[in-house]
Symmetry: C2
């Protein structure tokens, strides 16, 4: 655990600069506008250790697979969001000395991400020979005009005289640290000194993955007037230089406006003209006017999604940081996109789509965005069904297998124990169809496109199990469950349970599907009978005596002991060799408990409690996706202290660098976990069988908390303090909800005590 | 299965040249002299698909590890025998046309490896415009003067006139196809035009692995006279050109003598002088005189090791090919060396030391070479104990863990399921100590150095098991058995059995060790008690009803069906994705049966039969190490037809390319399996409890077979035909042996019928 930013309810702010935490700081001050994003790199450059990163949503590159030992069925490439051309560069030299915080003397450092308006600011006082200059930076990525990045730097001479040379750059010569073969992913297409543009294209590839073209255009302003410096170019680079002379107490403000267009939206040849128009539009307003528009749009986002926590600023900061970073990554405004595990904050995991989206993002986004956003996420998978069929075929199996990691539906992960075995995803992903249908009450998706997904995955599962004569049951061998600290196990309870659920749900929903869908999927009676047989005879390992489900066959053969015995060796993934991790009883991430969470209403409180009591002490939570699930179950079981402890771990995972890996980027897809921990955990929200329910409590030490949810056309505010719960129907038709199992009728504009 | 060479008892010969089989042909015509070796590349060059390969024993390079996803504990490098500078090159141009069998017209092709004398010959008739020239090549690596390679080419003009340009080369600009990062492993140190030498050095590395320097020197002769062509050099390359003019029926014979010295034997600066002396020594005799010496030495090797099979030339060719290739790889004359799985025949597996040596090479070499050879192989591991301690520490465990793959004792393999889990090697390797002691009757090793090995590995095993409260037994989780088609299993019967054996044997032998050894290893009473407890309470999975040992926990949960059901999908490692292989019941390589083979006298015939009948139908034998073990057990069980079928698969594995992978090189370490199948299988040789025993039969279709063994200072010939068995004590003191459980006394010079 390491906390390098101060506690503040609306800001991520620090007054320290420690070079050894530079990467961590960069991750934490990443900004994005769900079209593009970037790490908190410095405009003026930085020669010390740093991870330079700019990323464009939906722009990717298939990097040829690298493995030590090839296994049949491995994908040919790993899809990566390439580090995009960098456009923040404003080199600064004062009286001949280059400003570089790795080298120069400076003081009064401040770095802050204002979460309320998605604005990154930074300031410091440079102390040169006979001169002191204060530099103040502001930077944001416009959430209305998504192609626009705006940067402002203000220099104020505090002492002496300063000749300041600025060098504004666009730089397409960037590389990915994680490039498999050290390749550059971008090739230069051309630069234009007059238009101040550079255009680059992703390298050709042999995998039929489209090449992406990107054009960047810059324009400088000073007090609303165009600044035209001396422009030079080289391959994939543009530099615009000019100087100012400032005396003591004088200051100079430079605005850098940038437009980024990609071939996702604009054909290569049209990019210059489109960028030009976009720049004109942007510059029809001043920096401050643009910022005001942007801030207003952020305000609207917060109005329906803010979670307020009174009495615990650390918890408050955590949840707002998470919501802010999530919205900076994905707000559902471009249906072609999805949510990468690290968003726009780092290279790790390649920036593609994982099962995290359905398991963690969907349940939150159902409540904080419009239903169409979630539906688009479902449709995204439907569109990728051809890839899923391809993946199953690679494994010699029928049906559809959704990938672990993808941009286009085709699997690109290459560890056999994950690629081929962590197949629970193939039930978790369709499970979002059920969540969507239950929460929204809209069954039009499951009746149509959803049925293609259900039947495709059902066919995979029916072939992936086999009949064990020995057990007289259907079994499933060679899988990796959500707990990736076990590989290639047999009869993982979670996977078997979810596969069974998928088959059952498909059988239930199939007769209700549209005629067209039924004809399209064409499930034979024989298939239905087989599926039903699997549902009826799936082997689910359990220990009846202990009243627990067994994570996998022979789990009790392990040397079972609590995590508390190995505190000095955590995180174990940074201390132990892989075999030691595998044979230990320690659990990376909720596994049996993940299943109980997903299918919550199928288990009794006694079952939940016994399993929680058995598995939680074994869980190291070294996946960011883990603690929220445990927190929600702990809350349901009345284990409030545990629920809060696990909430903190979720909400401040990155802010406090719990897993010592935030240098690589933020854990974007698990950030929704903190929202779920409050809403499904502390407030106990459930929505099964068309009934919205709450079972709230306030954690000790908190005064109150409140949040808002969209539910079937209504906007509801839930406010919980130590007196009880107040529900306000801000918008929409009357609704009956259960609070602590008591029915309450909400009416528009009214607040009801419960 | 693919057979591209003709059947011949002493030759591997073909009259066909099919470019698509070039690599396969090159593997099969590899030659070596246990100092260096090379694939069957063509002297004149070949522009089609080919794997150029020359290898120097004990010269290696640590190639930086490449993996898709790093796991804690992975080694930093993979040790590889670099493709060494090539010295066979004799470029040939006839009337301006370069001879290149990928391009020119030719006829009367013949290629033959004469196994009796380790000589490679090749001839063809080139048909150019108005010219026909016959070329005849001879090549051998001298087994007395190991640094010497001798090549002869004879050109005879059959039609027309030929101006022939020769270009004899030494070429250090070679690369490894399997280089992880496409690096060249050699850097040039210098060339000398007068001395006709090139000197190269392996690239620097950050792993404390010594750099190797190699010097090559060439000298050309014609009819015993020096030929001095026009020498040019460039970095790491030397070329010596000259021409001859030949009229019809004239011929010209060119001899190329090469000396190769390495820094393993000669310091860099002394290499030119040493090479010069060696060249002088070599050239004190003609090519034919040198070949005669070499052939005489080979004859001596064959005299004590030939296996004769009458009535089945394919079987005869197979066993001789295997013995010849084994001896070309390793004859025990350099104690610093070991036996790489592909010897000098390809790049795959990196050319290092595997557990194959102890499990497959030792039991044969005990009988066909002097005891000192096997003892040196044991000592090799003792010398590498520091590496083994390092490996255990990398896994967070005490004691010593011998590596899967190594040059220096430090593990260099990098698949977690092998590196960390295929640990049965750590009992198989010490098991050779018991074999040596039992066979030779010499207990001086086990009492001294051997005790360090036994106690080091015992300490590893005692920590690697854990107590299962559930089973009330010691268990071992997360291992890969010899059957690598199962990964990360629990309680692999073989591994548990061998670990238990190791602890038991160590406890038995410890009190008999020298005082110094006992003091050195310092085993406490507490340790002994713990080891005994593990011996007494090790969990060994079995199915009592079926009377079989279970390969691992829950093996019967699989969809058990015989290999015969999937004949069309074999080899499965080339048809199925890895997960499908893992969850199938199919066995790559003897696993339970390997254990029964190792500890043969611990099991009843009923146990052997039941396990054989259960596991053999499940075994695909896709490891070259598998069929011999099954053959030996089949022979013991009287299943003669099966024994012969499996012998053929072992003996002709490469000759018939059974596993469709001989293009990569020969399966050197499994070649001893064919010898074992005859001697331990068909002849039923056993040597437990100081008693040499035989239980011979002759396979149907064979007339007779015979072989010789060294046994405790004696040389014994065993001859088996359909009449019975004849034993001849060629040398040594009287010996009582059991044949079909009947005692027979052998006397020197006498043949005894049994």
């Amino acid at each position: 655990m390491k906390r390098i930013f101060e506690i503040d309810p609306w800001k991520v702010i620090t007054h320290n600069f420690d070079p050894k935490d530079k990467r961590l700081q960069e991750s934490m001050t990443a900004i994005g506008n769900d079209y593009m994003g970037m790490r908190g790199n410095f405009e003026e450059g930085y020669s010390g250790d740093s991870l330079q990163g700019t990323y464009l949503a939906g722009v990717w590159f298939p990097d040829k697979t690298v493995v030590g030992w090839w296994k049949n069925g491995y994908p040919k490439y790993f899809g990566k969001t390439p580090n995009a051309p960098s456009f923040i560069g404003i080199g600064i030299t004062v009286n001949g000395e280059k400003i570089d915080l790795a080298k120069v003397k400076f003081d009064d450092f401040e770095l802050a991400l204002d979460m309320h308006q998605g604005l990154l600011t930074r300031s410091f006082v440079y102390e040169g020979k006979d001169v002191k200059v204060k530099f103040e930076f502001e930077r944001f990525l416009h959430i209305i005009q998504k192609e626009a990045a705006l940067i402002k730097v203000k220099a104020t001479v505090l002492e002496g005289h300063a000749k300041i040379d600025f060098d504004s750059t666009l730089d397409g010569t960037v590389v990915n640290e994680d490039s498999n073969y050290g390749d550059r992913f971008w090739i230069p297409l051309g630069e234009d000194k007059d238009e101040k543009t550079i255009q680059v294209k992703t390298k050709a590839n042999p995998y039929d993955v489209p090449q992406f073209t990107v054009l960047l255009k810059e324009s400088l302003r000073h007090n609303g007037e165009a600044v035209n410096g001396d422009v030079t170019t080289e391959d994939a680079k543009l530099s615009e230089k000019f100087s100012v002379d400032l005396n003591e107490n004088e200051s100079y403000e430079l605005e850098k406006d940038v437009i980024v267009v990609t071939s996702r939206d604009v054909e290569d040849k049209d990019q210059p003209a489109v960028a030009d128009n976009l720049m004109k539009k942007l510059q029809s307003k001043s920096f401050d006017e643009n910022l005001a528009d942007h801030t207003e749009a952020w305000k609207k986002r917060w109005e329906t999604s803010d979670v307020e926590i009174a009495g615990d600023d650390a918890a408050q900061q955590g949840i707002r940081f998470n919501i802010c970073q999530l919205f900076m990554t994905y707000y559902g405004e471009d249906k072609r996109l999805n949510v990468g595990p690290k968003g726009f904050t780092g290279e790790k995991y390649g920036g593609a789509t994982y099962w995290d989206t359905e398991a963690y993002i969907v349940p939150m986004y159902l409540a904080v965005t419009k239903p169409s956003v979630t539906r688009a996420l479902l449709q995204y998978r439907h569109d990728q069904l051809p890839g899923a069929y391809h993946n199953a075929k690679e494994q010699g199996l029928p049906g559809a297998l959704f990938p672990m990691v993808t941009f286009n539906g085709i699997e690109c992960h290459n560890e056999w124990e994950i690629t081929f075995e962590e197949i629970h995803r193939n039930a978790d992903i369709p499970h979002a169809i059920a969540m969507y249908t239950d929460y929204t009450g809209d069954d039009s998706y499951v009746k149509n496109e959803g049925m293609d997904v259900l039947v495709g995955t059902a066919r995979f599962w029916a072939a992936r199990v086999h009949w064990s004569k020995w057990r007289n049951k259907y079994v499933m061998h060679g899988v990796t469950g959500p707990n990736e600290y076990e590989n290639n196990v047999n009869n993982n309870w979670f996977t078997n349970t979810m596969a069974r659920w998928l088959l059952k749900y498909t059988l239930e929903r199939l007769p209700l599907a549209t005629k067209e869908a039924q004809e399209r999927v064409h499930v034979t009676d024989e298939e239905k009978a087989k599926w039903q047989d699997i549902v009826d005879n799936m082997y689910l390992p359990e220990d009846k005596e202990r009243g627990i489900f067994l994570q996998q066959d022979d789990f009790l053969d392990k040397d079972i002991r609590p995590v508390s015995e190995i505190e000095d060796q955590r995180p174990i993934n940074q201390h132990w060799s892989w075999d030691k991790i595998l044979r230990s009883p320690f659990i990376k991430q909720a596994d049996v408990l993940q299943g109980i969470y997903f299918l919550n209403d199928e288990y009794t409180m006694e079952q939940k409690e016994k399993n929680f009591d058995f598995y939680e002490p074994l869980t190291v939570h070294e996946s960011s996706l883990s603690p929220c699930i445990h927190s929600i179950l702990a809350a349901e079981l009345g284990k409030q202290e545990k629920a809060v402890e696990l909430y903190q771990r979720t909400a401040r995972l990155d802010l406090d660098n719990y897993n010592n890996d935030t240098v690589d980027g933020l854990h974007i897809t698990s950030m929704s976990g903190s929202w779920l921990a409050i809403v499904q955990g502390f407030a106990g929200m459930r929505y099964d069988h068309n009934q919205l329910k709450f079972n709230p409590f306030v954690p000790e030490g908190w005064d109150h908390y409140s949040f808002k949810i969209n539910y079937r056309g209504r906007l509801i505010e839930v406010y919980v303090d130590h007196e009880g719960t107040k529900l306000t129907l801000l918008k929409g038709e009357d609704l009956d909800v259960l609070v602590h199992d008591k029915k309450i009728t909400l009416k528009e504009g009214e607040t009801t005590n419960a």
